[in-house]
């Protein structure tokens, strides 16, 4: 669904406040313009709780491509949780779409590491994440759950 520049700026501001109101530290977000004509952003949130060895981090990156009439469509995203205190990682990605489509037959993929830096599979098949709110909430749910991430239940795509 296409959005105007003002709508995307409001959406980005909303994502930052959503994280802050949950107790995360987030810098003021900025909607960037790229030399490709696209726009996008990257925000990082430092989550509350343990700082040992480092605080858990969530990042949200999105790229929106022009869709005509001053509107844009989200074309790529990356939502990542690196939970340093729990030593694990979870991520939802959509990027390099034509490569992934030709090699795996999917546009979206996921990452899951029960032990940080030691994935048992490089890419898991994923379903598209429809908004930053959905992606961030899914990562926050992982962060808030002390149990395993459940990587073994995902389908490895190689």
């Amino acid at each position: 669904m296409s959005q105007s520049l003002a709508q995307i700026a409001s959406y980005l501001g909303g994502l930052a406040v959503y994280l802050r109101n949950l107790g995360a530290e987030v810098l003021e977000p900025v909607l960037d313009r790229y030399d490709s004509g696209e726009i996008g952003f990257a925000i990082t949130a430092q989550l509350p709780g343990s700082n040992d060895p480092k605080p858990a981090l969530i990042t949200a990156q999105e790229i929106w491509q022009p869709a005509g009439s001053g509107r844009f469509e989200r074309s790529e995203y990356g939502y990542d949780l690196i939970d340093y205190p729990a030593n694990r990682r979870r991520a939802f990605h959509m990027h390099d779409v034509s490569e992934y489509l030709s090699r795996l037959g999917v546009t979206a993929h996921e990452h899951c590491e029960e032990v940080l830096g030691k994935p048992t599979c490089d890419h898991y098949l994923g379903l598209p994440v429809y908004s930053g709110y959905e992606g961030l909430n899914a990562l926050l749910a992982c962060w808030s759950d002390p149990g395993p991430l459940g990587c073994a239940k995902l389908r490895c795509a190689r």
Binding site: L5, A6, A9, S10, L12, G13, G14, A16, V17, Y18, R20, N21, L22, G23, E28, P29, V30, L31, D32, R33, Y34, D35, S36, E38, G40, F41, A42, P48, G49, S50, Q61, I63, E76, Y77, G78, P85, A86, H93, H95, D96, E99, Y100, S102, R103, L104, G105, H109, D122, H123, N137, L140, A141, W143, S144, D145, P146, A157, R158
Partner: protein
């Protein structure tokens, strides 16, 4: 030992001396920040509840739009692209 304290809607209800359904209503109306774990399970970070009690929750405002034009970043930079999948016919005949 991790220090990641979360409260349940029941915990919040006890703290505020209200019913759990009132807490769930606050969550659904987005007046109390919460992490939705599943259709019926919510977790509220203690930090979020402290902000709520202090009346310190922020209202969204639009992000600043940069006037500067930057080089397009690459999402997934450093990530190894997957190997090509084996053709389905070969997999089936194996």
């Amino acid at each position: 030992m991790q220090d990641k304290p979360f409260l349940s809607p029941n915990d919040i209800a006890s703290e505020l001396a209200v019913s759990t359904s009132t807490v769930l209503r606050l969550i659904h109306e987005q007046r109390l920040p919460a992490i939705r774990v599943s259709e019926r399970i919510y977790r509220i970070p203690v930090a979020a509840f402290e902000k709520y009690k202090a009346g310190a929750l922020e209202s969204p405002s639009p992000a600043r739009v940069s006037a500067e034009v930057k080089k397009r970043p690459r999402i997934g930079a450093g990530e190894r692209l997957p190997e090509a999948a084996e053709p389905i016919a070969r997999v089936r005949s194996a």
